[in-house]
């Protein structure tokens, strides 16, 4: 021990000096840390900005029960301006729900086909085409809604107008399908092949294997795929603006026109005076949308964690 401690000090000082590699390593650590927390900085920054703009309205002109329970959105009325978003919330929710009803079965079916059945070239071609679908700009989907879906719905269902919930939901379903499909496919790919072999060795048919073993094993991934689709539905603006008919109205049938929360902001923000109650009320809608997406993401996160622990 004594002999060792006599030698140790010089050895330690030589080996312990901060050399070039140490500094490079340290600077990279700091750089990566900054990159890592930048997401938090941006989220907090955006939230603060939106909140600051909307705050005056929330503290001043806003009446909570009117905001959430009234369907009268008349921010430019000269006598008495009212700010009720109920109709828009109902419209957005209805369209998102219907879009998911259309999108999820098709997307999960497509994901099952790509992950479990398609082989080689078929598989590659399908994946490329689906990715291409995701690359179509949302305004082009708006064209399709106006010039193809609109007359189609009028002709097929014999209704006076084809812009509304059904049109928007179909467009939204098509827009969400590629991302939902690819996340769902990842979820299926993450199921180990040993599960498939074990199930097939027990005499399970392909369908039984998928239904009894692969779907339960992939359910977390499928859930996050679905929630991503819902988030997409709440956030989509341009295509919905063009496909919805943009009239304030609680939709009672799938052919009814409606107005989306996002579309209201997009259509009106440019025409308001900065700092006016109207301007601020649009930011209040923004805060509301922000909170909804936040809650959806948190729910997904908690469910996934809960399932993992169980």
């Amino acid at each position: 021990m004594t002999a060792h401690s006599a030698i140790q000090p010089t050895h330690v000082t030589v080996g312990d000096a901060k050399d070039k590699n140490w500094y490079i390593d340290k600077s990279f650590e700091i750089l990566m840390f900054i990159c890592g927390i930048s997401a938090i900085i941006f989220v907090v920054g955006i939230f603060l900005f939106v909140f600051k703009e909307g705050l005056g309205f929330i503290l001043g002109d806003m009446n909570f029960s009117e905001f959430f329970l009234s369907q009268k959105w008349r921010p430019t009325s000269l006598n008495k301006a009212t700010y009720g978003i109920l109709a828009m919330v109902a419209g957005t929710a209805a369209v998102t729900g219907l879009a998911m009803l259309i999108c999820l079965p098709i997307s999960i079916g497509a994901a099952i086909f790509i992950a479990e059945f398609a082989k080689g070239r078929t598989r590659e071609i399908l994946k490329i085409v689906i990715e291409f679908l995701a690359a179509i700009p949302s305004v082009v989907w708006g064209f399709i809604a106006l010039s193809i879906m609109n007359p189609l719905i009028i002709n097929v269902f014999d209704v006076p107008m084809g812009l509304g919930v059904l049109n928007s939901a179909i467009i939204l379903a098509l827009m969400a399908a590629p991302i939902v499909t690819s996340i769902a496919e990842d979820a299926f790919k993450a199921v180990p092949d040993t599960y498939r072999e074990a199930a097939e060795a027990l005499g399970a048919t392909r369908w039984q294997t998928i239904y009894k073993v692969i779907l339960p094993a992939a359910k977390n991934g499928l859930l996050s795929a679905g929630l991503l689709g819902v988030g997409r539905g709440f956030g989509e603006t341009m295509a919905i603006l063009m496909a919805s008919g943009h009239s304030i109205n609680i939709p009672t049938s799938v052919f009814d026109s409606f107005r989306a929360l996002t579309a209201t902001i997009a259509a009106e923000l440019g025409e308001t005076a900065v700092g006016s109650p109207h301007y601020q009320s649009l930011f209040a809608i923004g805060i509301f949308l922000f909170l909804i997406t936040f809650i959806i993401n948190m729910t997904a996160d908690f469910i996934v964690r809960g399932v993992r622990k169980g």
């Binding site: 040993t194 599960y195 072999e197 074990a198 199930a199 060795a201 005499g203 073993v213 339960p216």
Partner: protein, 260 residues
């Protein structure tokens, strides 16, 4: 020892000129052998000898692998498996235990109840309960899991999962049980317990035991085949092979521990 009785036993699986190739690369063959009813048939040999491919050919798992080419004949109960139109029914006759335990992400109970449910033979809840308990008991796992049948099977320990796999394989009352190096991920004590289970099961089903533990084949198998680099070198009574009476010098060397 029991040679005379064994050789009189009925032939369960008849393998004729079986060859297996993966995309032109030969993995096994040609193999000619008979597996008798109610015997433990050992298959030994180093890695890459075609042992697992041999098992996959028997329960037609080659259908899952696009590049796996199987030629020759495998007859089970004198029916050519190549002509089975419903491979799922064929696989229900054959229980498989894989090298690494595969606890499916279902509860312990559902893991064992899966095969009867898939086959539509689950019966009443009481019958299914009884079947699950019987299979778990026979796999020497019941006492450890009886209070947590609802827990996820994939969260059991490795040794428990492997016994769960055996219970699952037994749940379809197979005529043939194939074990592929079942003891790789299992501790020695559990291995011995499973070996005892296999000795009991022998009277009810034909067991094919693929192992790279030479002594395991010696302990369990009635007859043993030695596969080496895709060639079936020798098939014989286990006792003879292990008494140094193997006909092929390579068999003696492998069993004696000179290679592999």
């Amino acid at each position: 020892m029991v040679n005379s009785t064994v050789s009189r036993a009925k032939i369960k699986i008849e393998v004729k000129d079986l060859s297996i190739a993966y995309g032109g690369h030969k993995a096994l063959g040609p193999v000619n052998l008979d597996i008798r009813e109610s015997e433990i048939f050992g298959v030994i040999g180093p890695a890459n000898s075609g042992k697992t491919s041999f098992l996959n050919a028997i329960n037609r798992m080659d259908m899952m692998r696009t590049n796996m080419n199987v030629t020759g004949n495998i007859r089970i109960d004198d029916i050519d498996t190549r002509n089975w139109r419903n491979v799922y029914a064929l696989r229900r006759k054959i229980g498989v235990v894989f090298p690494l335990p595969v606890g499916l992400p279902l509860s312990v109970y559902d893991n064992v109840a899966l095969a009867p449910r898939l086959a539509g033979t689950a019966g009443t809840q009481a019958q299914l309960d009884e079947l699950v308990e019987r299979c778990l008991r026979r796999a020497a796992l019941w006492d450890e899991v009886k209070d947590r049948l609802g827990h996820l099977g994939s969260l059991l320990s490795g040794g428990q999962q492997q016994r769960l796999t055996i219970a699952r394989a037994l749940s379809q009352s197979p005529e043939i049980l194939m074990l592929d190096e079942f003891s790789i991920a299992v501790d020695p004590v559990t291995t011995m317990r499973i070996e005892d289970v296999l000795k009991e099961l022998k009277s009810e089903m034909t067991i094919i035991l693929v192992t790279n533990l030479v002594q395991q084949a010696n302990r369990l198998a009635d007859r043993t085949a030695f596969f080496l680099n895709g060639e079936c070198v020798e098939i014989g009574e286990t006792e003879q092979l292990f008494n140094g009476q193997a006909k092929d010098q390579r068999t003696n060397d492998y069993i004696g521990g000179k290679f592999g």
